[in-house]
Symmetry: C2
Subunit: 103 residues, 2 copies
């Protein structure tokens, strides 16, 4: 990326049981990918879950947040899925990459 | 955090086998925690591994990077452990938290 862009770091711990979480998480990713200004998303969960999504502008993040809040409200509420979460909105200042395919 | 701070997002895919990776990863975390300006670290791996470390200043990240490069060089080299990785150095601009323990 040549232009500056943003990362949203979403870290969380889950409650017990699925309670529709898997379906919601899938839907959220589908929704995110449709948003204008969406660049990409990466996710992994062990003791803690980390999802990082990448966005072209702060406006795109705000729009996505509204969408996300809407999904959360439509479903069983955040307390069903998360015992804790933290969201950090970050400006990506520098990046570098290592790839065995392009040495 | 009241002061601005930084996040280093390290995303990676692993090569096959451990090859001393587990030990190195543990050592790296111990080392990071000793660095001046270190705030915290969170890590999870499924298909992709995501480690996010948090730092008070860019200088702390530079110092940590030197340490990290040193460990990588001392060990079997990055190609032993990673087929791909990407590092993003980010300024945390905003954050919010949800916690069932402090509603």
């Amino acid at each position: 990326m040549e232009k500056p862009y943003y990362a949203v770091i979403f870290t969380s711990t889950r409650t017990e049981g699925d309670n529709g979480y898997g379906e919601m998480a899938y839907d959220m990713e589908v929704l995110a990918k449709k948003e204008q200004g969406f660049i990409g998303i990466e996710s992994a969960r062990e003791e803690v879950g980390i999802t990082v999504s990448y966005w072209e502008t702060l406006a795109a993040i705000t729009s996505w947040k509204k969408n996300m809040d809407h999904v959360f409200a439509q479903n069983k509420g955040q307390k069903e899925w998360y015992s804790w979460y933290k969201v950090r909105i970050c400006l990506v200042e520098r990046e570098y990459e290592f790839n065995t395919l392009t040495p």
